[in-house]
């Protein structure tokens, strides 16, 4: 840090090298060794050129032809070569630079302390329970973030307030290697090919190529993972005639008398499939109890028959209990936000809203089809059962949907 304001640089103040940056830059542009030099002379080695011309060009990231230009070393290390142009190494405002230096140093010291804090936290926080792991991770993460953040802040302060504030033009130089190097590489390559006898021994060559063919074909085989086609698996759910409706979670069967409170709602699933997540993903059903007269019934429909007429509930209910698929017909979110006052069933993902009293028809949102309704009845023991599966595929549209 203290090298930043090295006394050697101040000693060179009277030197012609102490020219201001704008002069330095205009000198560079006037010298005629701009980007065109690089483009026009593919054989030109930028470093070599700089050696020859000892010109005022400087490419960021390459050793400076004039050692005195570097911020961190004095002109003494320059090996006797005259430095033609120099950076104004002294900042404009020494007072301010001094302040910035201290600030940056403070950041670095704090970063160091945070680093020590990281080591200490590693040592003192045990990781034997979830809570202590939480504390340990929090402490470690905070310390590490502070280290990087403070080092970054210090570096920026350093660059902005201590280093000279000038714009530097970086010249492009050719990426192409020089012809000698290219020739040498080509030579070596040919020598290697010769020495390996790759050309002379076809057995070795061909067996190696043959060995790599399966590897090349392997990615094509992985495409199989995209199949098989779903076939008819999307058309139906596991619901079928006679399956009881069980309360999801407890597995209890339901009688209409149990479920007798108007405005009641419960999530149910098919008997035997409550623990089958794959099946439940499509078979989840909301069971809703309406007040008498609230359901708008349409013409009697046969379970498993054609789709229910719009805006009405087919007579697939028991004692004003109606069962709708819980899977939204838009993109398949669980549409289960039921408002017992308005009878809206709302899907939380995209606000599709279905009217439960009218066959769960869409009244708002991006869904285009009503929620499929499950025909329900009562078995001999008095429990609610499905009279058939859904009469249409549940959930969102798919390519082959009929």
């Amino acid at each position: 840090m203290s090298d930043t304001n090295s006394p050697g640089v101040g000693g060179e103040a009277g030197d012609p090298a102490g020219a201001s940056w704008p002069e330095y830059l205009s000198g560079a542009s006037a010298s005629g060794h701009g980007a065109s030099a690089g483009e026009g002379q593919p054989d030109g080695d930028p470093e070599a050129e700089q050696e020859f011309h000892a010109g005022p060009r400087r490419v960021i990231g390459t050793p400076s032809p004039a050692a005195a230009r570097t911020m961190l070393s004095g002109p003494g290390s320059d090996g006797g070569k005259p430095a033609v142009r120099e950076l104004p190494a002294d900042p404009d405002d020494p007072q301010r630079a001094k302040k910035a230096e201290r600030l940056a140093a403070a950041c670095f010291i704090l970063a160091g302390l945070a680093g020590v804090g990281f080591l200490v936290s590693y040592a003192i926080f045990d990781v034997h329970s979830l809570t202590t792991v939480l504390h340990s991770q929090l402490a470690l993460g905070t310390c590490l973030s502070l280290v990087f953040l403070l080092m970054g802040i210090g570096a920026v302060i350093w660059v902005r307030h201590v280093m000279p504030d000038v714009e530097i033009t970086e010249q492009r130089h050719p990426m192409r290697s020089d012809p000698a190097d290219r020739a040498a590489f080509s030579e070596t390559f040919k020598e290697g090919a010769e020495a390996s006898q790759f050309v002379k021994r076809p057995l070795l060559r061909r067996s190696l190529i043959a060995a790599s063919v399966p590897l090349a074909v392997a990615p094509l085989f992985l495409l199989r993972d995209m199949g098989p086609l779903p076939g008819t698996s999307l058309d139906g759910t596991v619901w079928r005639k006679g399956l009881r409706l069980l309360v999801y979670g407890t597995g209890a069967p339901i009688t209409p008398a149990d479920f007798d409170t108007p405005g009641a709602l419960i999530s149910v699933g098919p008997e035997g499939y409550l623990d089958d997540d794959d099946a439940m993903a499509k078979a989840a059903v909301s069971l809703i109890r309406m007040r008498p007269g609230e359901l708008v019934f349409g013409p009697a429909a046969k379970p498993g028959g054609p789709s229910k007429p719009n805006f009405t509930v087919p007579n697939w209910t028991v004692d004003n209990i109606v069962a709708y698929s819980k899977i939204c017909t838009h993109v398949g979110c669980p549409a289960a936000l039921y408002e017992q006052t308005t009878h809206y069933i709302l899907c939380p993902c995209h606000q599709s809203t279905f009217l439960a009293t009218e066959g769960a028809r869409v009244i708002f949102g991006p869904a285009t089809r009503a929620l499929p309704q499950l025909p329900i009845g009562v078995d001999s023991a008095g429990y609610l059962i499905a009279l058939s599966g859904f009469n249409e595929p549940v959930g969102p549209s798919f390519w082959e949907r009929s």
């Binding site: 920026v156 000038v166 979670g249 409170t261 009641a264 709602l265 669980p334 408002e339």
Partner: protein, 269 residues
């Protein structure tokens, strides 16, 4: 304070100010909204004196909308005959009733009536047409409850509206499912039993009293879950957390970029 004067024309000053103001407003709002209280209520045995007392309070505070005989007013307030003491206790103890105004959703606020007054009104309404009674302390006790089953039932039946963590969520037309963070076990029980406002009913035959206790135990349990990083962000899930981190980091990086590249000092001619 001279450094403020020096820096106030700094290019990043506006951004810093806006950022600070947002943080302050957010913090202030968070502090304000977490205040509030919930009164613990315990059921009492109704007697004639209590019912008479309740009727007086009803006439004073409720009859304006619900009618002299709790018969309701069409388009304004529902009939209270048959709603039961549990519904009254829920509405009044959460401060939703008496309502401040006709609105899509009556919000929780500090209750206007004391616990004894609330129970008196509840006893009066109960005497009119029966209905679900206020649960006893034993009925809402979470001792020995099956939190795991409670979670399953909560996720299947409650989480759709109230969020998996009881943080609440939006419904249609300005209605919303309130957060359950301040609800007492009694209030949660009463809500399941009576279905206040848009909430569906979960009666004792489909969700048994024991299962209701399990659900309550789950809701109470989630409140003591640790918040990784120290901020709950409403516990509404990874979307909010991701959005907050994204916007926060974005703001930070914009400010950092402004600071790193800002012009300073004199220009070189």
């Amino acid at each position: 304070m001279s450094w403020i004067t020096a820096k106030r024309r700094h290019p990043a000053a506006t951004y810093v100010l806006v950022g600070l103001a947002l943080v302050l407003i957010g913090a202030g709002y968070a502090v304000l909204t977490t205040s509030g209280s919930a009164s613990a209520s315990s059921p009492t045995t109704a007697n004639a004196a209590q019912i008479a007392d309740g009727r007086n309070i009803f006439l004073e505070d409720c009859a304006t909308c619900h009618g002299m005989f709790a018969q309701g007013t069409t388009g304004v307030a529902p009939s209270l005959i048959g709603v039961g003491a549990a519904a009254v206790d829920f509405q009044v103890s959460t401060g939703r009733m008496p309502a401040a105004a006709q609105s899509a959703e009556n919000e929780r606020k500090p209750p206007r009536l004391t616990t004894a007054q609330t129970h008196a009104v509840a006893a009066y309404i109960q005497s009119l047409g029966g209905g679900p009674a206020i649960p006893t302390a034993a009925q809402v006790s979470t001792a020995g409850a099956n939190v795991g089953l409670g979670q399953e039932l909560f996720e299947a039946n409650c989480a759709a509206c109230h969020n998996f963590d009881g943080a609440g969520g939006a419904l249609t037309n300005g209605k919303f499912a309130p957060p359950l963070t301040q609800s007492t076990p009694t209030q949660i029980y009463e809500a399941m039993l009576t279905g206040p406002e848009a909430m569906p009913v979960f009666n004792d035959l489909t969700v048994t009293p024991q299962e209701k206790r399990d659900i309550i135990a789950y809701i109470v349990e989630t409140r003591s879950e640790p918040n990784p990083g120290g901020f709950s962000l409403g516990r509404v899930g990874p979307v909010t957390e991701g959005l907050v981190s994204f916007l926060g980091l974005l703001l930070f990086m914009v400010l950092a970029a402004l600071w790193i590249t800002a012009k300073h000092g004199k220009t070189h001619e």
